[in-house]
């Protein structure tokens, strides 16, 4: 509605200027912006936030906007339409607001790109400096172009939209443990330090003024200086983040400075408000009671802000408990409620930054556990994007604002003495407080830390916005204060920001490693916590660990129960940590090995021992060596006995659906995302097909294990190299065997839905035994190396691409052998990260887990059997085998159905297959034996499909993505 009226105003007001802007059409955006009439700029700036500040609001706004102004648009075009129909119309007034906003964002983003072109340059100069410089340049351009300065950092815009995006990001991703471990120090610096800075700076400036260093023109009394001292003394979160995140000091140091910058908001707000009211009523009318009111106000503002934040955190966590069916708006809840926490605090004039910070810290644990992985990623990236762009805008606007000379007045004495006082008092304050804190700190803060903390006390946009907000009626020296603030901000951000990195290097401040904890560290650190708690209890100390343990008990017994989903609540944190690490590994495996199959050495970052496997040549081997216990499958959590059967069924259905789709989806995805098949990819595919073919043959041969001679020729080819590796494997195989029972017992449960399978358990057993048998190690490597050798087989080479694709999903789904991991999986990532890792993990898992040996067979059977019996030709071994299991089992229907569908395209291959099959099927006795075996994969498959946990699910879904 407001937009409509404003637009109306704009259209009328800009009637004349429209033509003017027409001429500037070819001018770059910023000039265009400058060409826009000054009167409309407030509108623009007021809209900025809504556009990027909040996705939800922005969407709502954009949904409403096109509808509203369209009528408007009609009118205006009528107005200057004059006569007749114009082919091209100039609709600047219609698009102006969003256009300007978008242009600003574009300029800011492009600027970032440009800065990062030179790596050496950006490591030396912090981005914030460059942005301010850019702002200065832009401001000058605008000033020259329009003779006025329509843009500056508007406090309303800043406090309502730009700041919350940054604080929200900071709060939500605040490392909670680190924060609370250092809470004492943070609070100390935030409260005492800020008060100290504010009073000392204020009083000393007044003293300097009395001494005559500051010019007479600066008309300010003690209260004015105290007010100025209050707003200039607070360390600024935006500046601290911008500078410190490039410096990478150690976490403790960072969290102390950063936490201080966030928590000092309450002090700043209260001091600012108290002094403003004092200044307004006049220093003479301030009574002693007012000072106590000030103190009370501080308590209310800080504690109230914190409480509001925590309340919203609880609401948010509680809401996300129930978003299971509306995953798509999960992130929205987070943005909305965190933002509402900010606005609500602002509404009651409490400390909004405190509120938002604590909302973020409080909700993070529960929300992250409740929402889906995709939502997590969305939240993370959206928050980072918003925060980053808000930061960019803030610094650019700081630069632009500085250009406008009409807003400020210079006084060298004031500027210089302020700078000196700020630096000196910061240093003195830090030293004093640290000395005090070190009495209590476990790890004392060293001298170097203190230097960095003093030097890292950056001032920024908050101070600027506060000083701009001052009322010139009451604060006569506002212009001088503005100028001083700008200089202070520029000095701290640019000079200190520029020099802090060399300083940190020179002082050899311990840097942060930015390393994710390994599973060992997770476990042992947890153990350390327990140990310390116990020791504190034994020693009779009610120390930090004692209380933290109490809190964790409370959290576990009440809060988590209330705020976490049931399914999540029952998971252990350790298990979560374990899974996260696994996921990370899986992703990194895929990331680093574009083609894992060929990557000479595969290493998982979290595996300290990776160097001890120099001979690892591909995923299969690697996982066989390492992977026996590595469960890379997220779904495994569902194996928890007692998972509901419905859930199983649901997953079952999902799976079945996904099992059918592979080809179609694969093709569509393929065509959409990989329009051109590069030469390399084609080659990969061919290798893959060959690989498949070889596996097929190895399958045949293993079925007739007795006829070892048959195998000898082809199989020997590639296996030599691997044999050594594999020969020592069996020992680990044993551990895989340990896990077998888990898969097997589930199968019978599912069999209720299917016709009774006589000897399925035996079958499963057989296959595993086969794996254990001495020959099996040879059998496996065969396939892979054979493919690598690139032995040409008539079957694989000729088929058309479509045929190949069709086969891929099949086999990859079942066998999920290295090729799919390597070649295809990497392509998946852009499509969908979540599923990608799902698949990759599961594919890796499948390699490592016991069921795996069967997969090749299953795939072979389905691809072989399908074509063979659907055409009603092959009624021999394959038919009998599949008949036992297939008729009613879902799994076995689908291959048939599928093959039927694609019969035409497959025909060529079919024939070839059949030739193979027939040659295989010659000896009848083995065929019957194989019948048993063939049933077995079927059984196994069903168990895979119906039992969600086993990890087969994502595998079989995998092809869909291909």
């Amino acid at each position: 509605m407001r937009g409509l009226s404003l637009l109306l105003f704009i259209t009328v007001a800009n009637e004349a200027t429209t033509d003017l802007s027409v001429t500037g059409a070819s001018v770059p955006p910023e000039l265009e912006v400058s060409a826009a009439p000054a009167g409309t700029s407030p509108v623009a700036s007021r809209y900025v936030p809504e556009e990027y500040g909040h996705p939800g609001i922005a969407q709502a706004r954009s949904a409403e906007e096109p509808a509203a102004p369209s009528t408007e648009d009609g009118e205006s075009s009528h107005q200057h339409g004059g006569g007749g129909y114009r082919i091209v119309q100039w609709e600047w007034s219609y698009v102006q607001t969003p256009y300007i906003i978008a242009s600003w964002l574009l300029v800011a983003s492009v600027a970032k790109i440009l800065f990062h072109f030179s790596q050496r340059f950006t490591t030396a100069v912090p981005e914030s400096c460059m942005l301010i410089l850019l702002g200065l340049v832009l401001g000058a351009v605008v000033l020259i172009a329009s003779k006025k300065q329509p843009y500056q950092l508007d406090p309303g815009l800043f406090f309502l939209f730009l700041l919350p995006t940054i604080v929200g990001d900071a709060g939500y991703f605040m490392p909670a443990r680190l924060f609370f471990d250092n809470l004492g120090a943070i609070l100390m610096y935030a409260v005492v330090g800020t008060l100290w800075n504010a009073f000392c700076t204020g009083f000393c400036l007044y003293g300097v003024k009395m001494a005559g260093v500051i010019d007479e023109k600066v008309n300010a009394g003690l209260m004015d200086f105290l007010l100025f001292g209050a707003l200039i003394s607070a360390v600024d979160p935006v500046a601290v983040i911008a500078v410190f995140e490039e410096v990478h000091v150690n976490e403790t140091l960072f969290i102390i400075v950063f936490g201080e910058s966030l928590l000092n908001d309450a002090v700043t707000v209260v001091l600012y408000k108290v002094y403003i009211s004092f200044v307004e009523v006049g220093p003479g009318n301030v009574y002693t009671a007012d000072y106590f009111k000030g103190i009370a106000s501080f308590l209310i503002v800080s504690i109230g802000g914190t409480l509001v934040g925590l309340i919203f955190a609880i609401i948010l966590a509680f809401v996300t408990r129930f978003t299971k069916n509306v995953r798509i708006i999960e992130p929205l809840f987070i943005f909305l409620l965190v933002y509402l926490a900010y606005l609500t605090a602002e509404l009651f004039s409490l400390s909004a930054i405190l509120s938002m910070t604590f909302c973020g810290i409080g909700c993070n644990k529960y929300v992250e556990a409740n929402i889906s992985q995709k939502s997590r990623t969305t939240v993370k990236y959206t928050m980072k994007t918003l925060a980053s762009i808000a930061e960019t805008i803030i610094f650019i606007f700081l630069g632009i604002s500085a250009v406008d000379k009409s807003k400020w007045a210079w006084d060298t004495g004031l500027v210089v003495s302020t700078l000196i006082f700020i630096l000196v008092f910061r240093a003195v304050g830090v030293a004093g407080q640290t000395w005090f804190l070190n009495w209590f700190r476990l790890v004392p803060l060293e001298k170097i830390d203190q230097v960095v903390m003093s030097y890292g006390g950056l001032r920024g946009a908050v101070a600027f916005a506060l000083v701009v907000l001052l009322d010139k009626e009451h604060v006569k020296a506002k212009d001088y204060f503005v100028a001083t603030t700008i200089v202070v901000v520029f000095f701290t951000v640019m000079f200190q920001g520029l020099t802090i990195k060399p300083l940190v290097k020179w002082l050899k401040v311990p840097r942060s490693t930015n390393r994710k904890p390994t599973i060992n560290e997770e476990i042992h650190e947890r153990a350390f916590d327990h140990i310390l708690t116990a020791v504190e209890d034994i020693a009779g100390l009610n120390g930090y660990h004692h209380w933290r343990d109490k809190w964790e008990q409370f959290d576990k017994n009440y809060l988590s129960k209330l705020l976490l989903r049931k399914s999540v609540y029952h998971k252990s944190e350790l298990w979560e940590a374990y899974q996260k690490i696994n996921i990370r590994d899986a992703i990194s495996v895929i990331d680093q090995g574009g083609n894992v199959l060929t990557s000479a050495r595969l290493s998982l970052p979290s595996m300290a021992s990776r160097t001890s496997f120099p001979e690892v040549t591909n995923v299969t081997n690697y996982l066989r060596e390492n992977g026996s216990g590595v469960c890379l499958d997220l779904q495994v959590i569902d194996t928890v006995p007692g998972a509901k059967i419905e859930e199983d069924l649901e997953t079952h259905h999902v799976l079945v659906e996904n099992l059918y789709k592979p080809r179609r989806q694969y093709q569509s995805h393929y065509s959409r995302h990989f329009m051109t098949v590069g030469e390399k990819e084609r080659q990969d595919r061919e290798v893959f097909q060959r690989n498949m073919h070889n596996r097929l043959e190895s399958f045949k041969s293993t079925r007739y294990k007795r006829h070892k001679k048959d195998r000898s020729q082809k199989k020997r080819k590639g296996s030599d190299a691997k044999e050594q590796d594999t020969s020592d494997k069996p020992r680990r195989n044993v551990s895989w065997q340990d896990k077998d029972p888990v898969v097997v017992p589930m199968a019978p449960e599912e069999d209720k839905h299917d016709p009774p399978e006589p000897d399925k358990d035996d079958d499963v057993g057989i296959t595993f035994v086969a794996r254990k048998a001495p020959e099996t190690p040879k059998e496996r490597p065969k396939s892979v190396p054979a493919a690598l050798d690139g032995c040409q087989s008539p079957v694989a080479a000729p088929p058309s691409p479509t045929c190949g694709e069709k086969n891929l999903p099949w086999k990859s789904g079942m066998g999920s052998l290295p090729p799919c991991v390597s070649v295809e999986a990497t392509k998946i990532i852009p499509i969908d990260l979540q599923q990608a890792w799902d698949q990759s993990i599961s594919s890796l898992e499948s390699l490592a887990s016991p069921p795996e040996p069967q997969h090749p067979r299953v795939s072979a059977v389905s691809s072989l059997g399908g074509p063979v019996w659907t055409p009603a030709k092959g009624k021999s071994g394959a038919g009998s085998g599949s008949n036992t299991g297939s008729p009613s089992s879902l799994q076995f229907k689908f291959p048939t159905g599928k093959e039927d569908e694609e019969e035409g395209t497959l025909s060529q291959r079919q024939q070839e297959m059949q030739a193979l099959m027939s040659s295989l099927r010659q000896p009848p006795p083995p065929a019957t034996q194989s019948a048993g075996k063939r049933r077995n994969p079927c059984v196994y498959l069903r168990s895979l499909v119906t039992v969600p946990p086993s990890g087969a699910e994502p595998q079989s879904r995998k092809p869909t993505q291909l």
Partner: protein, 188 residues
């Protein structure tokens, strides 16, 4: 008289401040229900918080030298001394005086011993599983726990014996600030 003597002795052995010792000595006596100048396992088990500590029993055991079921004040202090923060001046102390109890290695060894039940200087899969089982709830299946244990061992195991030796344990935690995470600020 005895206590004073003992305290001075302790002070000589490892640097614990006088007030700390006095404090801990009174704590020791309040725990010592048998009034015999030594603590038994039952004395420890009477501490209510330890009952809900997942590793409580293991830690109690750590106070008792092998084969004994009594610990005197000296032993009590010796164990607690592991958790003193490392002071600056101790870091570059001359090596002749031997390794202090609160050194990084000794802190780690203390934690290691909690896992290593059979004292063969190796954490086997079973031993790890036991501790894991203590630390996680009942909601995790044996299989899941097993996979965590496997993974943990694989990660740490460098010589392929499928167990974690103390050197492997130290290695895998080398990036962790053990000095800080295994220290308690005993009040002055």
């Amino acid at each position: 008289m005895f206590t004073v003597l003992n305290q001075t002795l302790l002070c000589l052995c490892f640097p614990v401040s006088h007030s700390q010792i006095t404090r801990l000595y009174s704590r020791f006596h309040s725990l010592d229900k048998g009034e015999n100048g030594a603590l038994s396992r039952e004395d420890f088990q009477r501490i209510p918080e330890l009952a809900i500590n997942p590793l409580g029993d293991r830690i109690i055991n750590a106070f008792f030298p092998e084969g004994e079921d009594q610990v005197n004040f000296r032993g009590f202090m010796r164990t607690l001394a592991h958790f003193r923060p490392v002071e600056d001046n101790e870091k570059n102390k001359d090596p002749t005086s031997g390794e202090p109890l609160n050194s990084r290695a000794n802190k780690l060894l203390f934690a290691f011993r909690l896992y290593d039940l059979d004292r063969d200087d190796k954490i086997s899969r079973d031993e790890l599983l036991q501790v894991l089982r203590m630390m996680v709830g009942v909601n995790i299946s044996d299989e899941q726990l097993g996979s965590i244990a496997d993974r943990t061992i694989q990660e740490a195991d460098t010589n392929g014996d499928m167990s974690i030796s103390f050197s492997e344990f130290t290695k895998v935690l080398e990036k962790v600030d053990v000095e800080q995470k295994m220290s308690i600020r005993f009040l002055h």
